[in-house]
Symmetry: none
């Protein structure tokens, strides 16, 4: 274990206190400084600006300079975990997110319903974004019909639209299996292919599952096949309670982020679900504010979705929607507020990027910069520096909340 | 070994030269930037400001962002040692500080005389801060009466007021033993409790020592018991001579800092002792300036004590007292001057904190900032950056003093 990692530093120092930390992740928040204004620069966000004036600003680096993080590593880093070398498959996050129990040794996979033609070639990788009720019915059918394969327990759980989660429960199942989704139409789905020697059995079980599912779905017009992606097992990670003695709760409407939260041992609120607006999330936050938690993870998805679509105007709109809720957040009186993203998703790039993510830390001893503008350029000049390693952010939040003792005599 | 650590980098590069480095530690120097002025901002320190104009400024991080250092880790980091994973018990520092020899395998402990009532419950954890002469007499009595326990050599050395140091010399003695001081009165002292399997014998010997001491002190009115704290063994560290080919001397009136200096192989001046003013320390520095040393560690305690008491005015006073001596320091003509703290001790927090520590580096190639104000805000903007890892500071001092060769061909 790296002696400078939070795994080594925090457990002996962390102490439980009544102070409360509000940790807001505006997914994909950051943009690229340049000729075009970023979404943060376009948006009017007077409440964020007022908060910024009394906060320390900076830009944080989730993985390493130049490295574009996926959502899993981006969130792990924000929560104090070194994301490097911790494989967190998307399948695992989705499966945990829809409520699956994934134990050590189990393998979790994301499933998509898809449309195949008479020759077995892909016509639509998402089966026309199947409506969720229809998808749930099909998933219930698969779950009932395929309880096990070769003595390995199989669990199939419904997701949103064309999605489901598959969990294989057993011993000796490696998770190093490549996706069966060829990422294009007009070709056949791929066979599952193990990329290490320990995962050959998993690949064979996956192929059997796909085969049996196709047989069961043969009569379906649109959803007559399945694709499997993001094979993953559960990494051995301490929970946030073990790492930092926190009693955390997550308000995260979308499955993958619920999955990250569950992986770290957070309690996850069932409501609100996908599509909720920010006000509904804050309603939920208010309901649990006095329920005994000391760490509140609030996840806002819309910034990332808009950035992925290259729509900076819509991204700015989500920032404005969040800004309008800031007074309600402050009214709760959190001891520490962190507002940042899990990575940047600049509209001009229409995808995740490596650019450092704006961050705002508000707390009693945060050393405010006094800059009343929350955007990339001001954050770059802020007290937290232009390249704060994301795992350091949790330490600063804990320190400001009085939750860390002294290191050494 | 971390290939970027000084342990790997410095030994092959370090070379002995006549140049002299003055390394001043104003203990707990830093404050928190905010609405209230810090002690550095309150104090008038024209000589420090003049020196700052010709120096590079910055803020340094002893352990890691958000981590509050104890004195041991704080000093180790300043002297170029990565403090993480190096357990330096307070008992070890105090024992070395009062002149004990602590070898590999020995266990060092801080002792307190205390007052117990007829039921054996604690009435005063410090025996009314016993006067030092009385304490020395009692310690001599214990030392004479308890030369060994179960064949293990016992050394008892006098400290200040109610304090003494205990060293157990033997093989197979672990140091993972919890304090017997319950940190409150009205209860009995705790039995020594081993926290790992290798330290059970140490705990038993400690209990025997406490028992025998109580029997010997039974007639005392105030000092009729002892408490043991900070069990520690000597970590295996290179000396500063081994690390950087330095021939260092320490002017450090208080035992714990003498202890750190001895741990790193510095010669430690006997005088001045506790309570000395800064001028007396500089007197001592002047006396040894031409004695062949090339690294001079000057430790000023008052800044930390005042900060711990929450007394920013007194802390500012100590800074002003030090400032008045700066012309004498400069008159000696050191090639390199470093002025910093081992951690921050902001008055408003009344204790150590995680905030980066102001640092000033003066040397022929230091790249002066030209800012004639030595305080947290200016240091934050300085050339050394807002978060210089403390172990890098020794490298910069050595480099400016011409004491480091080139890395690689």
């Amino acid at each position: 274990m790296d002696p400078r990692s939070n795994f080594a530093l925090l457990p002996p120092l962390a102490r439980r206190t009544p102070s409360r930390i509000l940790y807001v992740v505006l997914d994909g928040l950051g943009g690229v400084i340049g000729a075009e204004p970023t979404a943060l620069e376009r948006a009017r966000h007077p409440h964020l600006d007022a908060l910024a004036r009394d906060s320390a600003l900076g830009r944080q680096v989730p993985v390493a300079e130049g490295i574009t993080p996926g959502s899993g590593p981006g969130h792990l880093a924000l929560f104090g975990y070194d994301p490097v070398g911790v494989p967190v498959g998307r399948g695992l996050l989705e499966a945990l997110g829809v409520g699956a129990t994934v134990g050590p040794g189990d393998v979790a996979v994301r499933g998509n319903y898809c449309t195949l033609d008479a020759q077995g070639l892909l016509v639509d990788r998402r089966a026309g974004r199947l409506p969720t009720p229809r998808s749930r019915a099909l998933t219930a059918r698969l779950a009932a019909a395929i309880p096990e394969i070769e003595g390995v327990r199989v669990e199939v759980l419904p997701g949103l639209q064309h999605r489901f989660a598959l969990v294989l429960r057993g011993d000796g199942l490696g998770a190093a299996v490549a996706d069966t989704d060829p990422q294009q139409v007009g070709v056949a789905p791929l066979a599952a292919r193990a990329t290490d020697a320990f995962s050959a059995r998993t690949a064979r079980l996956a192929d059997r599952f796909v085969e049996q599912a196709r047989a069961l779905l043969a009569g379906e017009e649109r959803a007559n096949g399945v694709l499997l992606r993001g094979f993953g097992s559960r990494p051995s990670l301490p929970t946030l309670a073990e790492l930092a003695r926190l009693n955390p709760v997550a308000i995260a409407p979308y499955p993958a982020y619920r999955g990250v939260a569950r992986l770290l041992g957070m309690h996850v609120l069932d409501e609100p679900g996908p599509g909720a607006d920010v006000a509904a999330e804050v309603d939920a936050l208010e309901r649990v504010w006095d329920a005994g938690y000391d760490f509140f993870f609030l996840h806002v998805k819309g910034t990332d979705s808009a950035g992925e679509d290259g729509d900076e105007e819509r991204k700015a709109g989500v920032i404005e929607e969040f800004d309008a809720q800031v007074p309600r957040l402050r009214a709760l009186g959190p001891d520490v507020i962190v507002i940042t993203g899990d990575h940047s998703t600049p509209g001009p790039l229409a995808g995740h990027s490596w650019h450092p993510v704006p961050v705002l830390l508000h707390g009693p001893w945060c050393e405010p910069d006094g800059m009343a503008t929350f955007d990339e350029v001001h954050c770059h000049r802020g007290r937290l520096g232009p390249a704060l390693p994301a795992p350091a952010l949790l330490r600063l939040a804990l320190a400001n909340a009085g939750k860390l003792g002294k290191y050494g005599a």
